[in-house]
């Protein structure tokens, strides 16, 4: 069997063929690497890891031979470059991490490695996961495999493109406000954002710590479920992971939609929404009704606060999380020169007494300023400024504190609605893939790309995006399912119903 056909199989089938020898893991990985090179125009990867992939292959092959193959033998994986892998660069698509090599591996990724994945590379992304188009990368934008003039979505654009282009069978992304689901929708793949606390964040470079989750992008629900299953569960290294047991989501993948109550929130539509996406929602609603679910409208009354709340909280957290990139210990360091020192002289007098006396007027603070000025891209700087502002004394109550209250209301909306409904059905993104450059100068319109996704991060609930049809230009459309805390099993089962009907 050839590698391309092998990649398109479900993971379970692939594993069988690998075990029987009809499919060769080395070939599968090599072909993935070759595809990545052939499709380098997509710019889906920041770092390819051929050597590491070969070692992974050898290791997994040995385990196959011993009959001790892990549940993910046969998964060829791309890892978003904000997830730590020991001995490899970790760039977060930022200049500020130039030359940084992670000395340790993220918990979630280590679990996948132990389960037999082969990692072929670190995927491109928006810098520090901030963006919805993958244009905010120090390594250049990623292109959508469906139309190279269009964006793949973001921030996990490289991961989504690598899956959509058939380079890998699955990819890890991270989702703070929609960064797994929105690119999954724009690239036509499955994208799962687990419940907050379900997957360890240890080793995921923090953007908005109370919102971030590692998610899975894959071509099939089967592979998504299997990868998720391995990653999920409590981690002693992440205090925010939940001890709630992880149900077997693979076993229940075929439960169907029968008997489920599915709500369509009234607030998730309206002006910004493209009619073709609205139609997709109706079609999926019809399909699920046909499969025995009860679909009816519902309400999430505080939806309008989602975007401001999300941007205040995520920016506040990011302004603190990104403070560590100061050039003192690792990554880029731009030594301040005298001209810089003079520019910031007034600022350095603040606390200058704490700094050691130097021959010149340059203080460590100047080097930090210079490094951060040059090392971060414009979107990251914008969010750091925004976040610093909303946490400042005198503004905290008006912004951060108010956003925390709004967040509680948004969460309560979901708690209430899940008393009646098992799942919610919404669009993933308001549009299909837009053109490169189309929104880059209009941050507000870019921020609205998250309008349907960010609420789940604020509420902490799990959600999945699955492809459903295409628009007139042949661009994929994504629909989103949301569930109550820790009900990834339901999301995957119903996504599988949608997948089967495609």
């Amino acid at each position: 069997m050839n590698e391309k056909a092998g990649r398109e199989l479900t993971l379970s089938r692939r594993a069988e063929l690998l075990q029987s020898g009809e499919l060769d893991l080395a070939g599968l990985a090599e072909d993935g690497l070759k595809q990545a090179q052939d499709k380098s125009d997509l710019n889906a990867f920041i770092t390819l890891l051929p050597e590491r992939a070969r070692q992974d292959v050898e290791r997994v092959k040995r385990s196959l031979k011993n009959g001790q193959a892990g549940p993910l033998a046969g998964t060829v994986l791309a890892v978003k470059d904000n997830i730590a892998l020991e001995g490899e660069p970790l760039t977060c698509a930022s200049r500020i991490l130039d030359g940084y090599i992670s000395p340790y591996t993220a918990t979630a990724l280590q679990r996948l490695i132990d389960a037999g994945v082969v990692i072929i590379g670190k995927a491109n992304m928006d810098e520090f996961a901030m963006g919805s188009s993958n244009e905010n990368s120090a390594y250049g934008p990623v292109r959508n495999p469906h139309d190279p003039e269009r964006v793949p979505g973001g921030s996990s654009g490289g991961s989504a493109a690598a899956v959509a282009a058939g380079i890998v069978t699955a990819a890890l992304g991270s989702d703070t406000g929609g960064s797994v689901r929105q690119p999954a929708a724009l690239c036509g793949v499955i994208g799962l954002k687990p419940t907050y606390g379900r997957v360890s964040r240890y080793g995921l470079v923090a953007f908005g710590s109370s919102l971030d989750q590692i998610g899975v992008l894959a071509g099939s629900c089967d592979e998504t479920a299997r990868v998720f299953q391995v990653m999920a569960g409590e981690d002693p290294l992440d205090n925010t992971t939940s001890p709630t047991p992880v149900p077997d989501c693979v076993a229940t993948l075929n439960r169907g939609a029968r008997g489920l109550k599915i709500g369509i929130p009234e607030e998730y539509g309206g002006e910004g929404l493209h009619p073709v996406i609205e139609r997709a929602i109706s079609e999926v609603a019809e399909l699920l009704t046909d499969r025995g679910a009860e679909v009816k409208p519902c309400s999430l009354p505080h939806t309008e606060w989602t975007i401001p709340t999300y941007y205040i909280i995520s920016s506040a957290e990011c302004s603190s999380n990104l403070a560590r990139y100061d050039g003192v210990r690792y990554g880029l360091r731009l030594q301040a020169d005298d001209s810089v020192a003079k520019t910031f002289l007034s600022a350095t007098q603040n606390g200058g007494q704490e700094c050691p006396p130097h021959q010149s007027t340059i203080t460590p603070g100047d080097t930090v300023r210079q490094t951060r000025q040059s090392g971060f891209g414009p979107e990251v700087r914008r969010r750091i400024m925004l976040g610093t502002y909303v946490l400042s004394s005198g503004y905290y109550d008006a912004y951060y504190l108010k956003a925390q209250k709004a967040r509680r209301l948004i969460r309560e909306d979901f708690v209430n609605v899940f008393r009646e409904f098992d799942l919610l059905l919404t669009p993933t993104a308001p549009t299909t893939a837009f053109r490169l450059g189309e929104k880059i100068d209009d941050p507000l319109s870019m921020y609205l790309s998250d309008v349907f996704t960010a609420s789940a991060n604020l509420a902490g609930i799990p959600t999945i995006s699955c492809p459903w049809g295409k628009d007139d230009s042949g661009l994929p459309i994504g629909v989103q399912l949301m569930a109550d805390d820790f009900r990834e099993d339901l999301l995957l089962a119903v996504a599988a119903v949608i997948e089967a009907a495609r």
């Binding site: 904000n82 997830i83 730590a84 970790l90 977060c92 991490l97 940084y100 992670s102 000395p103 340790y104 993220a106 964040r201 240890y202 080793g203 995921l204 470079v205 923090a206 908005g208 710590s209 109370s210 002693p236 290294l237 992440d238 205090n239 925010t240 506040a316 957290e317 302004s319 603190s320 990104l322 403070a323 560590r324 100061d326 003192v328 210990r329 690792y330 007098q349 603040n350 606390g351 007494q353 704490e354 050691p356 130097h358 460590p364 603070g365 930090v368 610093t388 946490l391 400042s392 004394s393 905290y396 951060y400």
Partner: protein, 478 residues
């Protein structure tokens, strides 16, 4: 309008907790190792690393809170204090802002005017920063071994009104944290650190603007810096100037405070809840278990000691200055069959003297039971005071704990044989006719001379009381 100026002082004391590992990672919290040896992704603030709280540190903080009579929060949380500094790897310190682990309580001090209670506003947990080493010619170097070591901050109410009271308070805090075994209390090495807030105002007027004084890294420094700062502020007010809010640095070499930050330069730490840590539920059962395991506290023990017959307040203070001394005293006491005075004398005398000279830290070189047996040899008249001290010295140096055996080996048994001592005394009287005559004619203070001569002749073994009696008998009664 010529009322006296009065000072108001509050102290913020940071105590490094004696946990094995750091506050949020499993690195060892030990000192004196090569730079940056005890570091990991968490305390280095590497991308992606996350903190996990140290339960023992929380327990230690609760112990102090309970000992001071504070209220332990049912729910508490951590917050981020954001500021840039090269020895702060994450760009923020994990601390506690509006929901500290402990609030309220008080610590009793012995001030100039007797006992006084100093209120505790709060006790919270946080992590230490690294150390910047500024003396390298190539620039500033950073050592992160200390980074992430657990600290508690004990914030007092502004209840002190003199440098001496501040000194007394700091002494009490140091004793308490050492007593509870949660901090070694070393100001010079920085395991206990102190910042002061001091304001001066005319009596009866509203409180003045508090000035924060940092870098008070010795007990003496606290007193000197506060004395200086109070004088400075008083003089400024007398000259009609206003004191504006600022943070000062104490310069122990020049003996002055220098402005570090003015009000305009004050940091905005942008505190917000630490999203990497869930709120901490403090189970009441756990708190009760910790309370039940608290040792008898220093002031409780001082009270109990002070009630013992023959115990002066000054002895009770000294004997309860450290839990090790108090324990030792109680052991000696029981070994002497509750001879309070003698136990006090031995512990505050020889035992502490030889611990200071030979002991390792808190350890006494001679066991309490040996000290007790020796005290008994003395009380039974088997060894004279001088001989007993010689025996004690021998035990301190050799670690032996058999005073009776040493006494025999060295021939230090007290001579209580009347005939033997009378013979020695008669010889001395014969050799010192002038003194004998003066004694006879009423110069009784010469008794000391004769006893001294007998002691000398017997190498300290004579029973001095007996010698006195014999002298009386021979020279007066004849």
């Amino acid at each position: 309008m010529n009322g006296a100026y009065i000072a108001t002082i509050g102290l913020e004391v940071h105590a490094q907790l004696l946990t094995r590992s750091k506050m949020f990672c499993s690195c060892a919290a030990t000192y004196g190792e090569p730079e940056n040896r005890h570091t990991c992704p968490v305390c280095l603030g590497l991308p992606g690393a996350l903190p996990v709280p140290n339960r023992t540190a929380v327990e230690m903080a609760i112990r102090v809170g309970l000992a001071a009579g504070g209220r332990i929060a049912r729910r508490t949380k951590f917050d981020r204090k954001n500021y840039f500094y090269p020895d702060l790897p994450k760009g923020y310190q994990i601390s506690q802002f509006d929901m500290p682990l402990c609030e309220g309580g008080e610590i009793e001090i012995r001030g100039e005017s007797g006992a006084k209670k100093v209120g505790i506003i709060r006790i919270h947990l946080e992590e230490d920063a690294g150390k910047s080493l500024h003396d390298d010619p190539d620039g500033t170097l950073v050592d992160l071994n200390r980074c992430g070591v657990p600290l508690i901050e004990i914030v007092s109410a502004p209840d002190m009104s003199s440098p001496a009271e501040a000194y007394a308070y700091l002494t009490e805090v140091r004793r308490l944290v050492r007593w509870l075994g949660i901090c070694d209390g070393n100001l010079e090495e920085g395991s206990l650190r102190c910042d002061a807030n001091v304001s001066v105002t005319r009596e009866g007027a509203p409180l003045g603007i508090p000035i924060e004084v940092k870098n008070l890294n010795s007990f003496h420094g606290v007193e000197r810096a506060l004395t200086y700062e109070i004088k400075r502020q008083t003089e400024a007010l007398q000259a009609g100037e206003t004191v504006s809010r600022q943070t000062c640095l104490w310069d122990p070499e020049r003996g002055i405070t220098r402005v570090m930050r003015t009000k305009e330069q004050a940091h905005d730490y942008r505190y917000f809840p630490e999203p990497d840590l869930i709120e901490l539920e403090v189970e009441p059962d756990w708190v009760e278990q910790i309370r039940a395991r608290l040792p008898e506290l220093p002031w409780e023990r001082r009270l109990r000691f002070a009630e013992m017959p023959g115990m002066r307040p000054v002895d009770a203070d000294l004997l309860t200055s450290e839990s090790e001394i108090a324990d030792y005293f109680e052991d000696v006491l029981s070994a002497t069959g509750n001879d309070v005075s003698r136990s006090i004398r031995w512990v505050t005398g020889e035992a502490l003297r030889w611990r200071k000279e030979l002991g390792r830290g808190e350890r006494f070189p001679v066991s309490a039971s040996a000290t007790g047996s020796l005290a008994q040899l003395e009380s039974q008249g088997k060894a004279s005071g001088i001989a007993a001290k010689t025996i004690y010295e021998e035990m301190a140096h050799t670690g032996r704990d058999d005073p009776a055996a040493i006494m025999k080996e060295k021939g230090l048994e007290q001579v209580s044989d009347e005939g033997e001592l009378a013979a020695v005394l008669r010889q001395i009287i014969e050799d010192n006719p002038k003194e004998s005559e003066r004694y006879r004619s009423g110069e009784k203070k010469l008794q000391a001379f004769f006893i001294g001569q007998v002691m000398k002749a017997t190498k300290g073994k004579a029973d001095p009381k007996l010698v006195g009696k014999l002298l009386h008998k021979i020279l007066e009664i004849g």
